[in-house]
């Protein structure tokens, strides 16, 4: 399938979905991302990344509980799939391998 690679922001979101297992949805993800990265992120960009990940099969979603702070609307909770996990591992292995062969360029 074309386009199953992970973008940098997608990778972050996917990792976050794994970390927040069971409680990963738009606002918790946004909260965590803001906290960890300090970037300016809109809720819409988180959603867009989630839709792409779902299309690629790396996460799946189900509707969860509603609450007063949501104006009575239900949540869409995201869960990491096995494919998603594999994709993360592959990305990591690729990085590790590349790290291992990186020569000392005198930056340290």
């Amino acid at each position: 399938m074309k386009g199953t690679n992970l973008g940098e922001f997608e990778e972050l979101v996917l990792l976050m979905v794994g970390n927040l297992h069971g409680n990963a949805y738009g606002i918790t993800l946004l909260e965590a991302l803001l906290e960890r990265t300090g970037r300016k992120i809109t809720i819409s960009s988180v959603h867009t990344a989630l839709y792409r990940l779902e299309e690629k099969g790396f996460v799946r979603s189900e509707m969860g509980g509603a609450s007063q702070t949501r104006g009575g609307r239900t949540k869409r909770l995201y869960v990491l799939t096995a494919e998603g996990h594999t994709a993360l591992v592959q990305t990591r292995e690729l990085r590790d391998a590349l790290w291992g062969t990186l020569p000392d360029l005198g930056f340290n």
């Binding site: 738009g26 606002i27 946004l30 809109t42 959603h47 949501r70 609307r73």
Partner: protein, 876 residues
């Protein structure tokens, strides 16, 4: 919790309308939470702003609903759902009336859209110049008669610049026909103008190639419009190329350099040009004439810097002229100034330079009135039909009210119905305008691009028309219906009081449409009057050959004698004015017994002894100019026309002496007032005289009367003769009768548009009448059947129905006639030569109105009259 912790509702509502169902819960919920989550980070103000931004960012393309879903949401919205549903049901239930309403409103709105777009285009003229508000056209003004003219001497521009050297800039345009040679081909161009380096500085004509500051500052520079450049240099690189240009009037061949390519002037510019030559070149060519105040060869525009106001310029220039210009020339030197934005629409008293575009503000007001009238007829039609429906709907209103509907709700419901029909009509009218646009362009003779319809101002205007139409058409029926007492409505007691009112509406509608009809008849009569007018000479089979070439002009009398020998030439004359004439030679006139010691300007026409005989004109008194005699030999002989005698208030006629530009001349004859210009102009006072060759007013045209049976042979022979005389200048000729007809093109367009719009208005009124007669016949079918059973004849029944409508039409006619008479007199005042508004026109209009009325109601009336009474009575 304070209220600021709940997010603003409108962005969320908007989202819920626009976003597809499957994204709604997640997105709206998350946005809600986002608001609470961020509440601690921002001030309440910033929070709201950022929230709106987040909502806006969430409007991604893939999330939006499909168009059909969106429409369903809108219709399903609780506020509209019921009203629209009811409106759709009710309009579908009354298909006949709905289609009548749709047809009427669509026609009315189509007319409105056409007229509105046309007006927008006319009003947009010359506004594209960024400095438009600071630009003025300089006019020559006669201090006595206050008459203004476009033609100026170069001295006027000099005087302006000398009076205010720093705070105003001027530019002049002098027209000069030229032939350019390119790749062995000749290209004749009349809209060639000499103009100065300020041209591109003052005006916003877009220079595509070249430097605006220097493109017209050096000798022998020429700037071409894009289309001319394409014609002369088909391979594309005109800029910097040399170009051979022959200037007719000065009889010189110039090698010019293309110093720029300018975009074709926009259609809404009154200045239209094809080629621009640098003014220094032109002034060099006419070096001996340029310093003369009498040499009016340019028109001038000036740009005022914002620090300078017009009244300062007026007094400043006037003082300058008094100080520096001799008394003899001052009358030719006085100026007036006209804002650029008024030039196109408000110059009918000034006249226009050849090739300029000119409109008329009166035409705009007339079309505005026609548009309003036609729309009013359509709206009245709507009100009419809705009122006729009132009785049928009274029961519905009664039931609704009984079930607890408030008046306001009912008004809203009926207005929704009206707006539904108005909206559909407007959409249909939009389609009609698109389909009919090429036709409109052809008829109006204006290549107005359809894009004018989509300009923001036009769209706003259309929005306002939509709003008003719906309101005017809907509010009366809505308020009346909603005001019904439920008890009386259910009992069916609302019938009787409405009849008179309905008749009032029908009458008003007919007043308007009969007014339109009468106006059309008047406009047509005046148009015919102009077209068929007597010019004072026999214009049939007269051929005009302009001789632009100076060398040929020198030997024009020899050429005339050769032409006279050609087969089929009945007679031929030379003339200093074409027919129709421009009159560009004005001389100073003095005579014995004039009121004050001042010089009057009079137009001069150079002729020869064959002129009047060729035109078939008999002199009123005296004799023709002595044959064979060259001017300058002996005493100068002149012929005056009757208008000149009248203007001079002169008692002496033949044998008197006048002084023309300081030289004495003997009046040998008096000519009748022949029309050198179109029937639209008044007859100028004229002096006819003979000049010597090379004189600046000397003849430069041949006018010949042809034998109609051998016209083409004559023209072939003429062409052969012409080619033997000159190299390279093609023969051009025109039939004088056709040239006169082209002068009425504006009238023809005006009449055609006026007639089309009026006829549409009248058709709408007839539609209304048709619907009304069907309604009446339907309402009265039982009554009529009983009458027939009791012995009424067909004639009697026809009379009973027809009487009502005939009376309405007659009443409307009586009321419309004075209106039409008043406005007709106003409109006709612009034509010095006009029709009399006699009884005949009104009788004709009355006959047409009654004919239309009976034609419309005839079929249904007769059907009702011939109907078998049993069919309508069998149920009772």
């Amino acid at each position: 919790m304070p209220s600021s912790t709940s997010p603003p509702q409108w962005p969320l509502r908007l989202l819920s309308v626009l976003i597809a169902e499957r994204f709604q819960d997640e997105l709206l919920g998350d946005l809600h939470e986002w608001y609470h989550f961020m509440a601690t980070r921002y001030s309440p103000r910033a929070l709201r702003r950022r929230f709106v931004w987040e909502v806006f960012r969430s409007l991604r393309w893939f999330r939006l609903k499909k168009v059909t879903d969106l429409l369903i949401t809108l219709i399903d919205h609780p506020m509209f759902r019921n009203d629209i549903k009811m409106a759709v049901r009710s309009t579908l239930k009354r298909r006949f009336y709905t289609s009548m309403n749709l047809l009427g409103l669509t026609t009315g709105l189509t007319v409105c859209l056409f007229i509105y777009t046309f007006m927008q285009h006319e009003r947009s003229f010359d506004r594209f110049h960024t400095k438009a508000d600071e630009i003025y056209r300089v006019l020559r003004q006669d201090p006595n008669s206050k008459a203004r003219g476009v033609g100026l001497s170069s001295q006027s521009e000099k005087a302006l610049n000398a009076s205010f050297p720093n705070s105003l800039t001027t530019v002049s345009l002098g027209q000069d026909p030229v032939v350019s040679y390119s790749n062995g081909a000749e290209y004749y161009e009349e809209s060639f103008y000499w103009t100065g380096e300020n041209f591109f500085n003052i005006f916003d004509f877009e220079l595509l190639d070249g430097d605006p500051a220097t493109a017209l500052s050096q000798p022998n520079q020429v700037v071409l419009t894009e289309s001319v450049a394409k014609k002369l240099f088909p391979d594309g690189n005109a800029y910097g190329q040399p170009l051979d240009v022959k200037v007719y009037d000065s009889d010189t061949l110039l090698v010019m350099q293309v110093s720029g390519v300018v975009a074709d002037p926009p259609l809404n510019s009154h200045i239209q040009f094809a080629m621009l030559g640098s003014m220094v070149t032109g002034e060099h060519l006419y070096g001996n004439l340029v310093p003369l105040w009498g040499f009016s060869w340019v028109r001038t525009y000036m740009h005022l810097s914002p620090t300078l106001d017009l009244s300062t310029v007026r007094t400043g220039v006037s003082d300058y002229l008094d100080e520096h210009v001799s008394e003899r020339h001052r009358n030719m030197a006085y100026m007036d100034f006209q804002p650029l934005s008024e030039v196109y629409l408000h110059s009918t008293d000034i006249g226009k330079a050849p090739h300029d575009l000119a409109g008329d503000a009166r035409t705009l007001s007339i079309f505005l009135l026609v548009g309003i009238l036609v729309l009013a007829v359509a709206i009245l039609n709507f009100v009419n039909l809705s009122t006729a429906q009132l009785t049928n709907r009274a029961r519905e209103v009664g039931v609704r009210k009984t079930l607890g509907a408030f008046k306001q709700r009912l008004v809203q419901q009926f207005l929704t119905e009206t707006y539904l029909i108005t909206t559909i009509s407007l959409l249909l009218a939009g389609i009609a305008v698109h389909l009919l646009w090429p036709f409109f362009q052809q008829v109006s003779g204006l290549a107005i691009p359809l894009s004018f319809l989509y300009q923001p101002t036009t769209l706003w205007g259309i929005g306002i028309i939509w709003l008003l139409t719906g309101l005017l058409a809907g509010s009366y029926p809505a308020l009346t219906m909603a005001g019904f007492s439920p008890l009386r409505a259910l009992r069916g007691e609302v019938k009787q009081t409405r009849v008179r009112l309905r008749q009032g509406f029908v009458t008003t509608q007919f007043i308007l449409s009969i007014f339109l009809l009468m106006s059309t008849v008047m406009v047509f009569a005046q148009f015919r009057h102009l077209m068929d007018g007597d010019l004072g000479y026999d214009e049939e089979h007269l051929l005009l050959v302009p001789v632009e070439d100076r060398t040929m002009q020198q030997t024009l009398s020899t050429l005339r004698n050769q032409v006279a020998e050609l087969p089929g030439v009945v007679s031929v004359a030379t003339s200093g004015e074409q027919l129709p004439s421009q009159f560009n030679n004005t001389w100073g006139l003095r005579w014995n017994g004039q009121q004050e010691d001042q010089i009057h300007g009079i137009d001069v026409v150079a002729i020869d002894e064959h002129f009047f005989s060729t035109l078939g004109v008999e002199l009123v008194a005296g004799r023709d100019i002595t044959p064979g005699q060259e001017a300058g030999e002996g005493r100068a002989e002149v012929i005056l026309n009757q208008a000149a005698l009248q203007a001079m208030g002169w008692e002496e006629t033949v044998g008197g002496t006048i002084e023309l530009d300081g030289n004495a001349a003997e009046v040998v004859g008096i000519a009748p007032d022949i029309r050198h210009q179109s029937m639209k102009n008044t007859v100028h006072p004229l002096v006819y005289l003979k000049t010597h060759a090379g004189h600046r007013a000397s003849p430069d045209n041949l006018i010949m009367r042809l034998d109609p049976s051998q016209t083409s042979a004559t023209i072939t022979a003429l062409d052969r003769l012409w080619k033997s005389q000159t190299e390279g200048i093609p023969l051009s000729f025109s039939f004088i009768e056709e040239e006169y007809a082209s002068y009425y093109q504006a009238e023809q367009q005006f009449f055609t548009l006026f007639a089309i719009f009026s006829v549409l208005g009248i058709i709408i009124a007839c539609l209304g009448l048709l619907a009304m007669v069907i309604y009446v016949v339907n309402q009265r079918k039982k009554e009529l059947s009983i009458r027939k059973v009791l012995g009424a004849t067909v004639n009697h029944v026809v009379f009973r129905i027809g009487r009502e409508f005939t009376l309405i039409v007659l009443l409307a006619f009586v009321l419309a006639a004075p209106l039409a008479y008043y406005f007709g007199t106003q409109w006709l005042a612009q034509y010095p030569n006009r029709i009399q508004l006699g009884a005949g026109l009104f009788v004709l209009a009355a006959v047409i109105s009654l004919g239309l009325c009976w034609g419309t109601i005839g079929y249904h009336t007769l059907r009702a009259a011939y109907a078998n009474p049993a069919t309508h009575l069998k149920d009772d």
